[in-house]
Structure formats: C-alpha cells, structure tokens
Subunit: 386 residues, 4 copies
C-alpha cells in the first residue's frame, strides 16, 4: 500500500471528490486499524479516536465517522498514520511467534483485506487525479494491450456443475458453500468487449434509445447526463480517455473500462447478446483459461516498478447478470467479521474475474466482487454471452 | 375496477399521498387507455391529451406526466373518465366480433393488466385512507383468519426441477422460459409468519439490533425511523393495526402484512431461518397446496359483496430471496409491450403467491410479482425456509 | 369564498400541484377554523381532528398537517367542509349579539383574514388550472386593459414623511407604528411595466446575462431553467400567456404579471432604473392616486358576476426594494395572533398596492404584502423608480 | 496570510468540511489570483487552469470550479501556490513604479480583499480544527476578556443623521452613497451579550419555545437540531466551548460568539429588547467609542505573535436588524468588480463592527459585513437595543 502511495503528494492523500471515494491516507489508516482490531485484541489501542476514524462500517465495533466525511479530516496527518502503520506492524511481528491457528487466520484475513484496499487505492487515485483540472499522470506509460486473442464463442454444455469454493486455502465467506447448479448450454465470448465495439454502440445512439435500457438504468443515465464511459471525453468528434498514464487518445483495441452494470447490460442487449450469470462465468472460466485475465501484475513489486515504465492496462472485472446474494448453505464469518460481506447482499450485482489492479495472489475463479449497478469507478468491463 | 371504486367519494379518487401511490381515478383512466392503445389501434384517439396523462411508463408511446405528479391533475374529471371507460368498452365490443387471434391476445393482456390494477387500487385506497386523519373504513368488517393450519415444516428433496411457465394459457413474459433448475434439499414453513411471531421479533429488539439486518436495510430503517410494519401503531404499549375495515386491535393469529424485504429478511435471520428462493417456493407450492393462498376472493363479484360484510384478510404475497431477473431463454413481449416487465429487472425482489386482494383468476403458481426491497404498501408478508 | 369556488368541480378542490399552493377546499376549511378558533372560544370544537388539519402555521395552537401534505387529504369531504362553514356561521351569528369589543375585533380580523384567502384562492386556482393538460378557463373573458394612462415620471421631493398606519380602522400589526422617515428626492413611474417592455428585456438576452441579476436570482434562474414569466409560453417564436380566461396571445399593453423579485430587480437594472422602496411607494401613492390600482373589483359580488363575462385583469402587486421587517415601534398582535405577521419578518420582500384579485375593501395604501424573492404565483408585477 | 497559515500542516490546507468553508490553500491562491487579475492585466496568465480554479464567483471572468468542490482539488499543491504568490508579488513590485492612479486603486482593493480573506482564513481554520476528532489548538492561549465595561444603556436622540461613507480613503461601494436618514430616539447596550446572559436564554428554554423565533429560524433550528452556539458543547450539564486555543470551559464573561441571526433575534426578543438597525448602530458608534471593538489585533504582525501566547478573543461582529441592500444613490464598482458586493444584496443581513480576527486597518464605522441569517461560522455576536 505504501508503494502505491509513494507517487502521491501529501495533498493527494487528503481529498475525497465523491462520497464513494476515500482519501488515500484513510485507506492507509483503515487497513492498519483492521490488523490492530483483529490481530492485536487485548492490547491497549494505539488511539481511542482512531477506531472512530478508521472503522469503515462495522456496527459491532461502535460509532464511526460518516463515509462521506472522511475527506473532512486533515488529522491524523499522513506522517502520524505512517507511524501507526509501523507501530502496528511491529506489534504484529511480536505476536507472530505464537502458535494460535485462529490468530494466523485473522492475520491472513487482514492481508486479503489490505489487498482489496490496494485495488481501491488505485481506483480512488485514478478518480482523484481525473478530477484535477490538470489531470496529472500516476504512471509514466500504460502498456498497449497485447494483440488480443481472436474473439470467438466458447461453448459450455448443459449439465450440473459444482460452483463456489471450499475452505482449503483462504476464501471469503461469500464464496461458500460449494454447491451444485444446473446450467443450460450456453456460449461465452473469448474476448472482452473492446473500445471499438463500445464506440459502435454509442454511434448507433445507444445512450439515446430507451429500448436497450433497464428502467432504473435509463433514469440513471438521464438524471446524470451519462453518454459515455466514466473517463472518456469527446472533443470535436475525437474520443480520448483518461488512464493512469494521463489523458490520451482512445485505444480502440483495449477493453472498455469504467462502465456501470446499466451500460454493460444495455450494450449486451444492443449487441443481441446478454451478460453471463456468475455461474456461467465461473464454469466457463474453469474450462477456458482465457477468461482469467492475462495482464495481472505479478505482484505489488511489479506494480511498484510499473510506476516507472510498465503497465496498468489489461483485464477488467466483468459484470454478470447475477445479483449478489447468499449461496445455498452460506455461513457468514463469525463476530464482527460477519459484517465483512454478508450484510451487503442486497441491491448489488456480482462482477467476476479481476483487473490489472488486482494483486495476483488475490485472484480466484470463485471470487465474487460486487457493486451497485450504477457504480463505475472500479475497473469494470464487459464480456457477453448467449 | 368500478366496483372497487364504488365506495369512494370523488375526493378520494384524486389524491396521491406518496409518489408510489396513484390516485384511483388515474387507475381507472390508465387501464382504459391500455385497452385503447393495444386493442383500438388505427382508430382516432379519444383525446390526444389523455395518452400523455394515462401512459404509465412506456417510452415507446411518447411523453407522459411524471409519476409523482399524477395527483396534481384534477382534470379529467371522474365523470369524464367514466365516460371514457364506457366509450372504449363500446368500441371494444364492436371490434370483438372480428376473428384476429392477435387482437384477442391483446384483449386478454388488457384484462390481466386491469386485474393487476385492481389489486393496486386496493393497495392505494388502503394507503390513502390510512393517511386521513380520521382513517375511514373501506370495508364494514374484516373476517378473522380461519383457525390456521398447524404450522409445520414441509420438505422438498434434492433434484432437478422444472420451473417457469409454458404459454398454454395466458402468462406474462417474465415467467418464461420454462427451464430446469437444481435444488438442494430444503424445508419450507407450512404457515405464514403471523403477527404474534413478528411481535416477538420487535420485543426482542429486532429493529434496534443491526446484526439482523442487511446494510441497506439498516440504513433504510434508521433514515425512515422504521420500528414496525407499515400500518401498525403502538399506544401505551398496546399494538393496533389499520386494516381496510378501519383501525383496530392487532389480531395475533393473522399473517403479518405490509413488511418490506428488509424487514422480512431481518425477521428470518432473527428466527434462525431464511427466506426461500423463488424456485424453492414454486416447487414447494406445486407439491403442497397449502402454499397457495386459501383466502382468495372468488372473483370481483365477491369483492363487491365483501364491501358489505365480508373479508379482505387472509393471504399475502411472500418475499423470496430471489432478485427479479430474466430466466434463461427469456423472450420479452414484442413492441411497446416489451416494456411491460422486462425493463424492471434490476434492483427489485420477487414475491410469490398472491394476496386476498388478488383476483382469483389472476393467480398462478409461476406468477412473479416484484417490488423494491424497501416497499411495503402492497399486501406483503413472510414465509420462512431452512 | 364560496362564490369564488362555485365554478370549480369537486376534483379541483382537492389537488395541490406545488407545496406553496393549498387545495381550495383547505382554504374553505381553514378560514372557517380561524373564525371558530378566535370567535368561538370556550365552545366545544366542531371536530378535534380539524384543528390539526386546518391550523396553518400557529405553533401556539398545536400540531398540524405539514403544509406540503394538504393535498394528501381527501377527507374531510367538500360537503363536510361546507357543513362546517354553515355551522360556524350560525354559531357566530348567535354570538354576534353580545357586546364585547374584543370579540368584534376578532370577528373583523377573521373577515380580513378570509379576504386574504380569497386572493390566495384565485392565485391557487390559476396555478391549478394552468397545470392541467388542457388548461381550462376559470372566467369566460378577461377584459382588455383600458387604454393605459400615459407613462410618465412622477416626482416626490426630499423630506421627512410619515409612513405606516394608525389603528383608526382595521389594520394589520405590521403596518404599525406610524413613524417618520427621511426620503431623498425620487421619481416613480406612473405606469406599471407592461408585457411589451418586458418582452424587450427578454429579447435583449435579459435571462442570459448575469450582469443584470442578483447572485441568488441568477442561481434561481439557472437551477429552475427560468426564461420568462410564470404563465408565458413561446411556440414557434409566438408568445402566449395563460390567464384565468384560458390560454391566449400575449396582450402587449397589459402589465407584466407573475414575475419574481429577482426578475423585477433584473428588469429594473436592465432598464437603467431601480425598484422603489416601500416608503417611496407609499409616499408617492398618497400623492398620486394613479398608483392605486384602478381595476379593483368593486367587491366580491362583482367577482361573482365576473365569472360570467367581466374581468380579472388590471392591477398587480408591485415588488419593492424593501425587505419585510418590523417598523420602528412595531408591536405584534397578542396571543396566537402574534404569529399572524411578525414571525415572517425574515427573508421576504414587501409588495405594495394590490391586484385585480384583491377585494376592494381589503386595499390600503399602507398595506404590506410579502413574499420570498423567488415566488411568483401571486399577481405580482413591476413599477420602476429612479 | 502566509503567517496565518504558518501554523498549519499541509493536510490542514486541503480540506473543506462544509460547503461554505474554503480550504486554506484555496484562499492563498484566490487572493493572489485577484491581484493577478486586476493588477497584472495584459500580462500572460501564470496558468490558464488557475483562473478556473481560483475565480470565486465572478461571472464576467468565466467558468470556475463549483464552490462546494474546492476541497476536491489536491492540485495545485501548496508549494505551487506559494510559488504563484511569490511570482505575482514580484510582478506587482515591478509594476509598482508606474504612475497610474487606477492601477494603485486596484492594488489597494486587492489589499482590502486579502484582509477580508485573512479573517475568512481564521474562520475556516477554526471550523476545520473543530471538526477534527481531536480538536487541535491553533493558538497556545486565548486571553481572558478584560474586565468588561459596566453594561449600561447608551442613548441617541431623535434626528436626521448622515450615514454611509464618502470615498476619501478606501471604502467599498456598498458603503455609498453617504445619505441622510431619520432615526427615532433609541438606546443601545454598551456591552455585547455575554455567555452568561446567553446561557440564561438557553436555561429558560430559549431553543424550545417558538414564540421567540422567526418562522424561518424555528424551521432552521428544528431541521438542524440547533440548541446552542456553534462551538458549545454540553457534557453532563457542564458547558464547554471550542476556541482557537482548543476545547475548554465556557468563559461566562466573554461575548457570546458564533450565533446566527435567528439566534441573535430570538435572544433579543426573549430579553425584551431588539437588535439595532445598521443605522442605529453606526450613529451610536460614532457617538460612543465603546461600540468599536477594543480587542482588535494591532495588525497581522500581532496575530503572528499571538500564535505564540497572545489572544484572539474579544470583539465580535454584531448582527443588525437590517437586511443587506443598496443605499440610496448606490453606485457599484465598475467592470468585473461590480460583482464584488452588489450582487449579494438579497437574502442577507448586515453585521456591523468587527471581530478580533479583523485586521485593524480593515475596520471602519461605516463598514457593512453581510451573511445569510442561518450562518454562524464567522465571529458573530449580539448587541441589543431598545
């Protein structure tokens, strides 16, 4: 996380240009608070105030600053948060000798939690930088997408399939229980929808024709005057896009990014296809390696290097037609951790896959990411099915 | 529809005390407009303005008055709308001699559409009357619930089941295609959750303990200061309820009514159970007649009589754990009718069954009703599963 | 009041198309409640509920229905309100024999209060009718304005003038105390700004040039997409206007009507003039009869007839540059009546004069009408000064 | 301005915890932009973007970032803004040799403008610091108020007085023209209302009794749950207050601070008095030196020292009963400067005097400060009249 933030100025750590964005320094404090809360139980808290400031949404852990007011806090200062990170790291290191399987499990959860926030940091930094009048670059360059695999239809037969995960390695509770599901035969596209294809949708009046849209989506597009993906811009008929490497011409072959579920769904309907369900996606992903994203950073070391010359392009999370709900036999985590995933099973849609900003060791074929259908500041894209 | 409105004063036909309620006279005009639009194609419209006024949400049929402003319209007058109804009825009667299967299908759809609005009328009348300072009665009495069936658990075996409907008789597009689904073994409660059980949830702090609630639901309850079902009231520790027969003591054995999905879900979690999926509900309903609601009015004649002395108690729609989305192989209706159901497949949850206000001939085991998880002015209740 | 409402259908009595409009039947009930409250003290209330329903804003008299929810109430029915009016009239008549100066004062206040609501009724009826898709007429015809007096500048000398009223006949508390004020010499226009002049402002880009506008006004115009007076409409470059006699071509010589303070102020600045202060207006009105409005209905009998063939055109209230605040030595009415005027002395501007909808016996040169600067559904117009 | 900000961390410069607060670094950039715009006309702008970012509200000078989004901007960085300040200072110094009265007038206006922002900086810093969970101190200590002058009534005779300013030294356009006004005899309190007196108002139920409040004010207090001045807090019945020296016990003899007009007006009514008009205040101030505030910092040098040990207590701006409107004969500044004061003459109330945060050389007896009646983050207090 610190490497991700290394390229930021102090000022960049403080701002919150939208309620759903958190200031980078809040992420740094929150992830450390998570370790302190779940791995340093019984010890004197680093600061009473900080549980109030860095608790994200755990009702069981007391009151907290309203999410949309995180950007109101100039204090604690960045250097105080970094000191907090060091102090908690040290205390964790001391405890790390004990033999207590539960403790190690909590530590592992804390690491996966921080990996999630590493992607959130990149989403939020992109949003913050794009909001600045001069739209600065975070990376020097973005790698052009590899000559993409030939787009084709991958077939999956009718059958009863096993989906979801078993807790052999670390998994989130929302991936359980592993269970059977019946799938009718279907086909899924080998390639992600790219900017060129999405542009055809726009040029065919996609954003002006209600027949392609869900009712809620149409209302959202009208109310918010939406007519293109989040970071696109049209100047004198030329399309350009803000990426982490700054503002530049739209790369036609790159996967379309930063679209909402409503847009993904409308595009698929316009194209004569549909979005896959999350189980179709998972079964196909297990059969065809191609669905896994090819452009994941090897690890955060790689990301750190990438701030020099490498890439943050490539794969995107893929909207599915499945709403985010409990699997059969779902058993939430225990204690305060029960609020980690379970209470969000309402109103959100599942995305599958992973993005170029997802740490490689965080990726799993059974992984369920979830967002509200109007959200699009995450690295979200489209893969169609029929 | 006219019989349902027969007990209203002109004033009662005009008001819209919430955005989701429509003034009764709007329902009367809208259902007739629907017939005019789909069954009198090619004829001179009764009034150019009225398509603007009575179009509910069909983008393909042009602009329309905003939903939350239907109650701003004093015109057309009730007597003008009734004249419209008669004129369209007459024109339909004339066309009814033609042999044109498509026309008869449209007519049938118009009838099912009006049946839906008959239930909406009763929901809206109840809401309107409850909002009045003196809370008038719509019916003279509500029948006490029959001594309820003994509550027990009904078992369904693991298996591949066929769900959804085939278009042999009239069905809505959202019930298609009939398709296979795999179900793990489960049990479903033979009886609806009743007021007595729900009261225990309240008395155990159900509305004050976030651990039972979805995050969106908790926020909804806090923001709207929700602490009981819509029409309940507590006075000096005594609970009472507004029904269509007026305000009276809470009947403990009656099914709990007018709860949101959030409340239904929180209740089920508190009770140690869960809500069934819509497919679990449908498979169980086919196996056990008891899930069908026993208290449906025989037909609207019966409702008319009931305005004297009979009942409007009994069954309620049952929230399921399934979000409202397209079935595999779903093919929407054609033309403007494609907007009837398909565009709402986002953000809403499925309810199954039917209520005492549902016309008996409108009831089907494959029927999918759908509302947003916060809504509760419909006759909605709870049946738990495990 | 009943004569004003005689041309309405029951439906027209019920609706509230904006928060600031009250349903006509509410006015009928409220004015009677006012008499009941202040002139039938000590008697058993006609209905406990009705004080809740018909109390407008008197904190001292208990809770009341929210102003923007008056249109949610279908009950009491119009015929019940009319019965209430008759019952209170009768009870008043019985008490009218007593010799109690305070009682007669209260009665007089009640009459002046109802006169205010008679104008409000006409404002609200106009707003309601204009909102209907077919924009029905309330009057058969509007009289064309008499050939207007030749517009000229009327001069007033520097001096110390006495303004405000002495309680010799009925006056409102906000007209007291009569006090001295120093005025520099000024000139005021003999004629009201007419539609022709206002049209020049529009055609000169008046609504698009921020330099003419107050900051709050510019924001208001941008936010609400304001580009002309409330009831004007432009179709293919032709301007028309809704009046109480229906929709018709804009009459160039008529006074411009239904403008906000922001618009009046911007117009005056564009024209190179300014609005008069309320004291300038009052002193000039005393000197020059022309400022008094010539087109006042003789009385409500006249209005009743006018529903056939006569007029409701003519004079308008005139925005002044004075905010509505207490005069030196102001003493509010006593008791609940203290809330009648005094508590509104914040954020509103004074209008002087009277309109064609103002009962003649309600007109006074010292009368202070007041509205928020963004409001314009009253009969408001412009008279400039320099 | 830089000295005022010297005690802030970089993080403190960036945040905007309320729409009406500006991030300190925005003030630093804006005041310099003002000099650049009005004193370096004809020169190449330092940055094209920065006019967009640092234009506060001048429509004539083009588009600008929305006021409530100033806190979304991490860029330009503080060090870039400081470089901007130096560059503009240098360019100004070069031009300072020219003999051009208009240029020197613009420079003088720029200095008075920056003085206003120096007070705004202190208001905003106080608000920002108070919002932090740990409520840091900006100053080491606050000086206890000097033993206050004995409170008494100061009398002013009836008469015609001259008010407003003549442009002999620098004045703002809103202070012109100097004109005559008639005043009835009145008395004004020699001392400001102090915390002890205000506490009596609270303890007498001041915030719970609508009879003391303007209607808008009561609504404001109810909607925002207001029950005490902005920075007061009650813990176990003990009142404390946040000052620039941190959180501490309420000092009873200090002037009450950070009250809205609504609160000032309600307090005065409760006390049996009223607020003075702005002309009463001005005439009394000219007669009695005591109205001028005694605790003004000598200059900003003094403030800089005060960050060590001195004071920021003392005087406060005093709400008057006068709405902020044009004086007779008012002539606005020319060009873009016309937007400086004139366009705000709507909806706001005049405050007179000055506060401990007002630079001494900025103070004038004819000075008109103005805020909306609900605002109270400025150093506002109460002086009553009768």
């Amino acid at each position: 996380s610190e490497k991700i933030c290394a390229g930021l100025e102090i000022e960049d750590h403080c701002v919150q240009p939208a309620a759903f964005v958190s200031p980078p320094k809040w992420h740094l404090g929150h992830t450390t608070w998570f370790f302190e809360t779940f791995c340093l139980t019984g010890e004197k808290p680093f600061s009473q105030d900080w549980s109030y400031i860095f608790n994200s949404y755990y009702e069981a852990l007391g009151k907290r600053v309203a999410q949309d007011q995180r950007g109101h806090l100039s204090r604690p200062l960045l250097r105080e948060i970094n000191a907090y990170r060091n102090a908690v790291d040290e205390a964790i290191s001391k405890r790390a000798k004990i033999e207590d399987e539960k403790w190690w499990k909590a530590l592992e959860a804390g690491i996966h939690h921080e990996q999630q926030h590493q992607e959130l940091l990149l989403m939020d930094i992109k949003y913050i930088f794009a909001k600045q009048t001069n739209q600065p670059s975070y990376l020097k360059t973005i790698r052009e997408p590899d000559s993409q695999i030939e787009a084709s239809w991958l077939s999956v037969d009718e059958g009863i399939y096993s989906v979801g995960a078993r807790a052999e390695t670390f998994i989130f509770d929302n991936e359980t229980s592993q269970h059977k599901t019946y799938l009718a035969p279907f086909q899924i596209r080998s390639a992600l929808t790219n900017n060129s294809e999405y542009l055809q949708f726009i040029e065919d009046g996609g954003y002006k024709r209600p027949e392609f849209w869900l009712s809620d989506g149409w209302q959202w597009a009208v109310d918010n005057k939406i007519s293109h993906p989040l970071y696109w811009r049209s100047t004198n008929g030329e399309w350009s896009e803000y990426t982490l490497a700054g503002h530049g011409p739209l790369v036609k072959k790159s996967p379309v990014m930063h679209v909402s579920y409503y847009e993904a769904d409308a595009f698929a309907r316009w194209a004569g296809y549909r979005l896959p369900t999350e189980f179709e996606w998972e079964v196909a992903a297990k059969k065809y390696e191609d669905l896994s994203h090819a452009h994941l950073l090897d690890d955060l070391q790689d990301l750190a290097r990438s701030r020099g010359t490498k890439s943050l392009s490539g794969s995107v999370w893929q909207w599915t037609a499945s709403s985010y709900q409990a699997y059969p036999g779902f058993i939430p985590f225990k204690g305060a951790m029960s609020e980690y995933n379970a209470k969000f099973m309402s109103g959100q849609m599942v995305l599958r896959g992973g993005s170029a900003a997802t740490p490689r060791s965080h990726y799993r074929q059974t992984y369920r990411n979830f967002y509200y259908p109007s959200q699009r500041w995450m690295f979200s894209g489209i893969r169609v099915a029929k």
